[in-house]
């Protein structure tokens, strides 16, 4: 066990299990995350990375865990402490971009403020500033169906951005394959975009993706969740995913050219090697958990061979 265990961390999860019926999805997941970290979470499809994210955002409640704390609280339904950006866009169809992005302000406003023309004017002005930040000023009065996928995703990020900046909420931004539906060029543009925002606002980001390159490029920390591992207890039925790889990534410049360097490609290969193959499983004792915040608990008997 490395590092120092601290239940007051932004996220502190100890021995988390999650299953749907007889199928175990998450098996003994241990995770603690520092404030301000940009965590990339990758894994083969079906490894439960979205499930882990949903447990953190509160879309699903934790059924079994030794300890589970997000921002100092137990598992709870979604609220403004934990922001989300989904793969499918989640703008309200009946509102313009401006109205959608203004929602965060409106939800916090009192009845009197909502009725006051001067407040509404001010709210509109503030919202337009944020639309400028996400380069959507020209589309302020467009409806979601009139925009491209990248524009919608920028608007969805702006919705949360405005509340981060004005209310310091959410404190964690959970992104579930946010760029999965975008074309490669838009995708790179959006990757730079989220890094710029992260540098500026220093919010904790949990970025789930199945694209290893994207994960290595974006994160300051990279975690691989995988169902491909083995232990001394060869009970296949019980096997769900756990964290098999956890490392710190070097902070790098905001340039996608880094993706061509050999170091970058070596890292991608290491990650690919760590848990993406059903035939090459690592033993629980051999997981590559080098990040200072990472820790690992064992079930009795699974690592007895050492």
């Amino acid at each position: 066990m490395k590092g120092k265990l601290d239940p007051n961390k932004t996220i502190f999860i100890d021995s988390l299990y999650h299953s749907y019926g007889a199928k175990t999805v998450l098996c003994n997941v241990d995770l603690q995350i520092q404030r301000g970290e940009f965590v990339s979470l990758v894994g083969p499809s079906g490894c439960g990375k979205s499930t882990l994210l949903r447990l953190i955002t509160g879309q699903e409640l934790v059924k079994k865990a030794h300890s589970f704390s997000v921002l100092g609280r137990k598992s709870a339904f979604p609220d403004r402490r934990r922001g989300v950006v989904f793969q499918g866009y989640t703008l309200a169809d009946h509102m313009t971009v401006l109205e959608n992005v203004m929602l965060g302000l409106n939800y916090q406003a009192s009845c009197f403020e909502l009725l006051s023309p001067s407040w509404r004017k001010k709210a509109k002005k503030i919202t337009l500033e944020y639309l400028e930040k996400v380069r959507l000023t020209d589309s302020a009065n467009k409806y979601p169906h009139e925009m491209s996928g990248g524009m919608r995703q920028r608007a969805a990020i702006a919705q949360t951005l405005i509340t981060i900046d004005l209310f310091q909420m959410p404190q964690i931004l959970c992104m579930d394959e946010p760029y999965g539906a975008l074309d490669p060029a838009t995708r790179e543009e959006m990757q730079i975009f989220i890094l710029e925002l992260w540098e500026k606002y220093k919010v904790t980001v949990l970025f789930v993706t199945h694209d290893i390159e994207e994960a290595v490029f974006l994160g300051t920390r990279l975690i691989v969740l995988s169902q491909f591992w083995k232990s001394d207890l060869q009970d296949k039925n019980q096997q769900g995913s756990r964290i098999v790889f956890d490392t710190r990534l070097a902070p790098h410049a905001l340039s996608t050219t880094v993706k061509q360097t050999s170091d970058f490609q070596k890292m991608v290969a290491t990650v690919l090697d760590s848990g993406f193959s059903g035939t090459k499983r690592r033993h629980v004792k051999e997981f590559n958990l080098t990040h200072p915040d990472s820790f690992q608990t064992f079930v009795e008997g699974e690592a007895s061979g050492s």
Partner: protein, 273 residues
């Protein structure tokens, strides 16, 4: 131009084509009417267009001997009032309960079996029960419309609400929305065009229930007039009333479609495609 899978009649010829069956229908009627009157000049079953015109003129302009009122306006007012109350109550009911049932699993669990079973009851089959229990006044007629139209509306709105992506709702929660905020800002406005469209398609059914209720027991109304005139085989007036209800149906349909064309609702038609 007119034949085959890839035919494209175009706007002008499209309209002309559409007129042909209508024109044939009118001409066919005129022929039948003419032939019958040839045999029997007093024929009542297929009166001439001229006779119809005369009867309609009396109906819409000459006051009734007994009540002193112009019967057409009396009938139209009665029927439209019943229709209006029925449709309005149905729409409000469908909107409120539809959103409630669509959004809250608890409410759904509580009321879904009731709503499902009620919607399976044929409203015309319980017409007599309604008349006996609620009397022969306006209440029973409005109730029949609400029963026949409002309950399907609840179910339709409920389904539409359940069709809203869960992630959209979650996103609002993370933006700090209260339940009330989510309903007021997201769910209710999104259901508005859906409701307008439901009112549009429900008007046909609502008319059926109004006419049926009036046929059984009423002292005025377009349905009442139709069934009253049946006793005298006064086909010319019956045809006119039918034509009037059809016209009202056409106009209300067009108006509601126009409302749905409002730029605020553009997203709705895009989504449906």
């Amino acid at each position: 131009m007119f034949f085959g899978l890839h035919a494209n009649p175009g706007p002008y010829w499209g309209k002309v084509l559409g007129m042909i069956p209508l024109l044939l229908l009118v001409l066919g009627y005129m022929k039948i009417s003419h032939d019958r009157r040839e045999v029997n000049p007093e024929d009542k079953l297929a009166p001439s267009i001229g006779k119809m015109y005369e009867d309609v003129k009396t109906y819409v302009s000459v006051p009734d001997k007994r009540s002193g009122e112009i019967l057409f306006f009396l009938d139209a007012k009665s029927s439209l009032k019943r229709l209006g109350y029925g449709i309005t109550i149905s729409a409000v009911m469908g909107y409120v309960f539809g959103i409630l049932l669509g959004l809250y699993p608890g409410a759904r669990a509580l009321f879904n079996p009731l709503v499902t079973n009620l919607s399976n009851i044929n409203p015309l089959a319980i017409l007599v029960v309604v008349l006996i229990t609620l009397g022969t006044g306006e209440v029973s007629k409005v109730f029949l419309v609400v029963f026949g139209v409002g309950i399907p509306m609840i179910r339709n709105i409920q389904q539409a609400v359940q069709g809203i992506k869960g992630e959209v709702i979650i996103k609002q929660e993370t933006l700090g929305a209260s339940q009330f905020g989510i309903i007021c800002r997201i769910v209710a406005p999104q259901m508005l065009p859906c409701l307008i469209n439901l009112v549009r398609v429900s008007l046909g059914a609502a008319w059926i229930f109004v006419i049926a209720a009036e046929a059984i027991s009423a002292t005025s109304g377009l349905g009442y007039r139709i069934y009253l005139q049946t006793r005298y085989m006064n086909m010319s007036l019956i045809f006119s009333v039918i034509a009037f209800t059809a016209t009202i149906a056409f106009i209300s349909d067009q108006l509601l479609q126009l409302l749905l064309k409002h730029p605020r609702f553009a997203w709705y038609s895009v989504e449906k495609k």
